[in-house]
């Protein structure tokens, strides 16, 4: 699957998409136009890294350090997860300034 995001590009949550806590079910969710997606701990950790400044590569490095995992594997998982959300228009991508 073509990844849709290059390592030097910056993924971000566009207007109308936000991380939220579902207090009734006790889970984290991604709120988006007419969709609420349940997030597991990994998804939540990834999306919490999106600050509109960090590139894919920078996010992968930070997650690899935090979870003490191989950067290559993290980068691949990150790309798969975010590509799925780019396809659903829940994550946007911009070029580094």
């Amino acid at each position: 699957m073509d990844p849709l995001i290059a390592p030097d590009q910056i993924p971000y949550l566009p207007r109308g998409v936000r991380l939220a806590h579902d207090r009734v079910r006790g889970i984290r969710v991604l709120q988006a136009p007419e969709r609420a997606m349940q997030l597991d701990a990994v998804g939540d950790a990834i999306l919490s890294e999106l600050d509109g400044r960090r590139s894919m590569a920078a996010i992968a490095t930070r997650l690899a350090q935090r979870y003490n995992a191989p950067a290559r594997q993290i980068a691949a998982d990150l790309s798969d997860f975010l590509t799925g959300l780019v396809e659903r228009r829940m994550v946007f991508v911009k070029d580094a300034p």
Binding site: G16, Q31, A36, R89
Partner: protein, 377 residues
């Protein structure tokens, strides 16, 4: 109403209600458009009977406590209510994500900015056609096209995420590629292409709206190709013509499982067409708490689970996939809300349904019965 605490389906089998994710809030039935396939019931609710904004605020709080995450503020045309911004504010204050479902008619640029401040998260705009002639004819509202295009411009200018909603039928289905192009040009993140569902008003217009089998097949092809071409740019959600399908749609993801609908007067429905099941009694938020209605009402429990099903659903391995299809369609086509959805290829009524759909599709009438409130009252 059962006075004991165990929720039971209409045969008395115990059921276990889940929690709803989304609520459709039909805050009014008033609408400047007169689309002949409107999903509102044929018996429309008048302005005097509409729930006041304070009641909606309470309903939103109760919905959020019940587990609802998103509200679709709809109608009618929600902009027909002057207190729309107040209603939106209260939904956001309850913690709900607010989708505004609108025709774009009657909401000025100033009002849209007010709705931005009130906290609308997302705007869904309906389109009836891809040119003034078709859009104005289907909506029964001269000038609707120009107003909609203006509105779409303001949506993008303010920065709301935009979804285009296009109901397709025999008279506009051949222009589906143009509709998808238009949605892209308008900057939509998503287009919802929904084939007319033949309930209520649409059922009165079957002969003028029923798509042909060829159109339904072409639409699927067009959607599939466009999905590949637009990957990462625009999402296409597609509701196919179920009269031409092999299996029925999993209506509402299962009765009383993930969604609920509150009508303008506060009646709580498992789906927007549920009142077509004429023998069913529905509760009202004016009389009972929403969570009580969700968990304990006979209407919501009636078709929960699978124990109520009869054959061919009972022994079907798809019974937890499509839940027997649409109860309202079973009511409309089989005269029995408990029946297998007659569009299912396993239904004994299927051949008759297809024959009738083909007959309607072959009709050369284009005359429409428009959705209007009865005069007076």
């Amino acid at each position: 109403m059962k006075d004991h605490a165990q929720p039971r389906d209409l045969d008395g089998n115990p059921v276990r209600p889940g929690l709803p994710m989304a609520m459709l809030a039909e805050i009014t039935h008033r609408c400047p458009l007169a689309c002949p396939y409107c999903s509102n019931p044929v018996e429309l609710t008048r302005a005097q009977a509409e729930l006041p904004a304070e009641d909606w605020a309470r309903v939103f709080r109760e919905a959020a406590d019940l587990g609802v995450l998103q509200v679709h503020v709809s109608g009618g045309e929600p902009g027909a209510r002057r207190d729309l911004a107040q209603i939106v504010t209260s939904a956001r204050e309850a913690g709900l994500y607010v989708n505004l479902i609108t025709s774009g008619i009657g909401i000025t640029r100033d009002r849209l900015q007010e709705l931005d401040r009130a906290g609308v998260d997302h705007v869904q705009l309906s389109l009836q056609g891809i040119r003034p002639d078709m859009a104005d004819r289907i909506s029964g509202h001269p000038g609707s096209w120009d107003k909609k295009m203006g509105f779409a411009g303001w949506v993008t200018e303010i920065g709301f995420p935009l979804t285009i909603n296009a109901v397709v039928h025999r008279q506009n289905m051949d222009r589906l590629p143009d509709m998808i192009d238009l949605a892209e040009t308008l900057g939509a993140r998503r287009i919802e292409v929904a084939t007319v569902q033949f309930h209520g008003w649409a059922d009165l217009n079957r002969a003028a709206l029923m798509p042909t089998g060829d159109q339904a097949a072409a639409a699927r092809r067009i959607v599939n190709e466009a999905r590949i071409r637009l990957r990462g740019r625009m999402v296409i959600d597609y509701v196919p013509a179920d009269h031409h399908a092999i299996y029925p749609k999993a209506c509402m993801g299962g009765w009383g499982s993930t969604g609920l609908n509150v009508a303008p007067d506060g009646t709580v429905l498992p789906c927007h067409a549920a009142q077509s099941i004429t023998w069913m009694k529905f509760e009202n938020v004016k009389d009972r708490a929403l969570s009580d209605i969700w968990h304990m009402s006979d209407s919501f429990n009636a078709f929960r689970g699978t124990a109520w099903m009869s054959e061919p659903c009972r022994s079907c391995d798809r019974k937890t996939v499509d839940f027997g299809g649409c109860r309202c369609q079973a009511m409309a086509l089989a005269g029995d809300a408990r029946a297998t959805d007659p569009v299912c290829s396993k239904s004994p009524l299927r051949a008759r349904v297809v024959a009738r759909a083909e007959e309607d599709a072959a009709s050369d009438t284009a005359d429409l019965i428009y959705r209007r409130m009865k005069k007076g009252g």
